[in-house]
């Protein structure tokens, strides 16, 4: 297959511009919740069928939650549930289940470390959300602990809550525990894409004008 040098140049240029357009999106994928990595003396709170923990964070409409991490101790292979709840009716309600917007399961792979679970959920409205670590069953021989932290990470939680004996998530007395939520930014809107296309066209036009004399020179030499 033959390609003229000009065609190759144009393709490369388009690829570079496309890459430039994509780079900000990748770079902006960031932690929207980071309560900080626990220290060596962290308190270990037991996650059980009767004790779940949650942390509150903010999302803009259109943001996609790519992963959730919790700093866990326990035996490798222990499974757990990770949920995202909307803020409405979540705390101090026995009907907190109605606030659930996303659920997935995770598996402890590394003891006393961040354990990350991939997620794929996009917020449709801006607002505060809760990420919760739950345990639905108690297999023999397993135990799961969530480490405390000082909530001084790059994106501290707005609040914490835990599900206690009365069957409600409550913030009263809830410990600061180690969660991270990673989310991609809102995709670029159509006007921005048009602007990008226009810029691409301008660059191409400018290159075309600059390339013409060189082409002529090259021809005259023949």
């Amino acid at each position: 297959m033959n390609h003229s040098p000009k065609k190759i140049q144009s393709t490369l240029l388009a690829a570079v511009v496309a890459a430039i357009c994509l780079v900000p999106a990748v770079a902006n994928a960031s932690l929207v919740l980071d309560t900080g990595t626990p220290g060596s003396g962290a308190t270990l709170y037991q996650v059980s069928t009767s004790q779940w923990f949650a942390a509150e964070f903010y999302l803009s409409a259109g943001q996609t939650v790519d992963s959730v991490a919790a700093y866990l101790s326990g035996n490798a292979g222990e499974t757990y549930t990770l949920d995202i709840f909307s803020n409405t009716g979540f705390t101090n309600s026995r009907n907190y289940g109605q606030s659930q917007v996303y659920t997935t399961s995770g598996t402890l792979t590394t003891n006393n470390a961040w354990n990350t679970t991939s997620t794929d959920w996009t917020a449709t409205t801006s607002g505060y959300y809760w990420v919760a670590l739950e345990e639905a069953s108690s297999p023999r021989g397993f135990s799961l602990d969530l480490a405390s932290t000082t909530n001084n990470g790059t994106a501290p939680a707005a609040a914490f809550a835990f599900l206690g004996a009365n069957g409600e998530f409550t913030s009263t007395g809830a410990p600061d525990v180690a969660f991270q939520v990673d989310a991609t930014p809102v995709p670029l809107p159509a006007p921005a894409l048009l602007l990008g296309g226009g810029l691409l066209g301008l660059i191409g036009f400018a290159r075309g004008r600059r390339a013409k004399p060189r082409d002529q020179g090259a021809c005259s030499g023949e």
Partner: protein, 528 residues
């Protein structure tokens, strides 16, 4: 992909597999576990103020903690700290152990539950045809309902795979002449008072007016016998736990402690007993339950019976021995955070808040008294000889400590004592001052968990390693956490202790042989 890339990829893959292999080798799955806690009863007259509730505004949700509130009427009636104990049971259910050993003070009790003779022969079953209301002690009714309430609380555990093993405590086996609903001015007429000046019995008195009686021991049997008998009958034990109880001991008067361990000679069947569980090949666990307040010998451990039981267990090749009793062998001095205060004997005596060490004798030499606890010393020497671990209650707190053999005989092992009398009874380390102007007592390390409701869970790993984890929550009912201060990664084994004993015996034998040979040579005149 060029050759270099291919090699790099293969190298990375190999490294990954290697890591996976290491990770797999490091994980040591738990094959069997048990939890233990004691003392869930409360005291209507002396409940901890942190358990009081109030509802100051009818428009708000009720049940708000209030230091000036009142005890939950339910707990006043059935004399249990329901919230704390239920939270503990929930936590235990979450850990899903095979067994739960409850280390005594199941009920508030402290009465003298005298029953008509034909009830006694019917294992405590009531019979209105042959008896009248005048034949039954009111204390018996009170204790029956408390036992029933406790049995109801633990019932769900069996459905989730945890079988409960009961241990008698002093509130089960003793009568206190002045305990609620009695008082020193309106004492219980059926048990001895503090000065031993009366009552309807010639039973030996004691300093504190708390005395163990056969009727109380019978009441424990009537309310717990199904759980203990199942170690032999196996109606549900193996179905619940996934394991068979083996070699049950102490389920008959002939095999239980008797005259050699109790002054009265009252047999201790179903109060002191033992059994084995084969957790895995080479991992044979021996569980021993002892009554530390037998009638006729309050505040003691059945050392003679234990000696024979441990010997038999060792002969079967047990890898670990776990002993459960109500009273600790070594009183934990939770007051030591405040200089000048102590609960150590002789500050406390027995029967009373102290452990087995509070049953002491005093010897005065040149006007200076010295205290010794021969029964406790003999008990702990056995624990050390066989590399056992001792779990107890009685002191309403949590503490894990190690103690060397007081007799200095068996030094290879320094056994652990685990106190988990933290199941809901009013904390021994009291709030300071008068509530609502009261404050938490000195909780400087290592006393930060003295007012925590807590339990211990022991895990047996596939490798045979035994680890201990202590879980709990504060008197403010905080979330359950791991009390890592008290965790033990590897508990001692019977094998370690027995190997040391055998080595010591071998060394002693060798030394004796050398000495004998030397004497023979000396006698023969071969050595100059």
């Amino acid at each position: 992909m060029n050759l270099r890339c291919l090699l790099a990829t293969l190298t990375l893959a190999a490294a990954g597999l290697g890591c996976a292999g290491i990770s797999s080798a490091q994980s040591d799955p738990v094959i069997f576990s048990f939890s233990t806690v004691g003392d869930s009863r409360t005291d209507p007259n002396k409940a901890d103020a942190t358990t009081f509730l109030a509802n100051p505004e009818p428009t708000q949700e009720g049940g708000a903690p209030s230091l000036t509130g009142t005890i939950l009427p339910q707990d006043n009636m059935w004399v249990t700290n329901t919230e704390a104990y239920s939270t503990i049971l929930n936590g235990i259910k979450g850990q899903n152990p095979n067994l739960l050993f409850f280390n005594g003070d199941i009920i508030f009790g402290y009465g003298r539950p005298i029953l008509p003779s034909d009830w006694v022969t019917a294992n405590g079953k009531p019979n209105s045809f042959t008896t009248t209301e005048n034949d039954v002690s009111p204390d018996a009714v009170f204790e029956y309902i408390q036992y029933a309430f406790w049995r109801g609380l633990i019932a769900p555990l069996f459905l989730s795979g945890t079988y409960v093993i009961p241990v008698p405590g002093n509130h089960e086996t003793q009568c206190s002449y002045s305990a609620e609903p009695y008082s020193s001015s309106s004492p219980n007429p059926n048990c001895n008072n503090a000065s031993g000046t009366f009552t309807n019995t010639s039973w030996p008195n004691n300093l504190t007016g708390k005395t163990a009686y056969p009727e109380n021991e019978n009441m424990f049997r009537y309310n717990m016998i199904d759980l203990i008998n199942d170690l032999k009958a196996n109606i549900r034990f193996s179905n619940v736990t996934g394991y068979f109880a083996q070699n049950p001991n102490g389920l008959t008067p002939a095999t239980a402690p008797g005259i050699s361990d109790t002054v009265s000679g009252n047999n201790q069947a179903y109060l002191t007993y033992s059994f084995d569980i084969q957790a895995a090949t080479g991992v044979l666990l021996h569980f021993v339950i002892i009554n530390t307040d037998p009638s006729g010998n309050d505040g003691t451990a059945p050392v003679n019976w234990l000696t024979a039981d441990f010997q038999a267990a060792a002969a079967r090749g047990v890898s670990n021995i776990f002993v459960f009793g109500h009273k600790p062998a070594f009183t934990y001095n939770y007051l030591s955070a405040t200089p000048g205060t102590s609960v150590l004997p002789p500050t406390t005596n027995n029967p009373g808040p102290g452990g087995l060490d509070a049953t002491y004798t005093t010897t005065t030499v040149n006007g200076v008294p010295t205290y010794s606890s021969p029964n406790r010393d003999a008990f702990w020497s056995l624990i050390a000889e066989y590399g056992a671990t001792y779990f107890s209650g009685h002191e309403h707190t949590v503490n894990v400590s190690t103690h060397a053999d007081p007799t200095g005989t068996y030094t290879a092992i320094t056994p652990y004592q685990v106190i988990v009398g933290s199941g809901g009874s009013p904390f021994d380390d009291k709030l300071v001052g008068t509530c609502p102007n009261c404050a938490e007592p000195n909780s400087a390390p290592p006393h930060q968990y003295d007012r925590y409701y807590a339990w211990a869970t022991v895990s047996v790993h596939q490798s045979g390693k035994i680890s201990l984890q202590v879980s709990g929550f504060s008197d403010q009912f905080s979330p359950v956490q791991d009390l890592t201060l008290y965790d033990v990664s590897t508990l001692q084994t019977a094998g370690q202790a027995q190997t040391a004993v055998e080595l010591a015996a071998r060394k002693k034998k060798k030394a004796a042989l050398i000495e004998r040979r030397a004497n023979q040579l000396l006698a023969a005149g071969d050595v100059k």
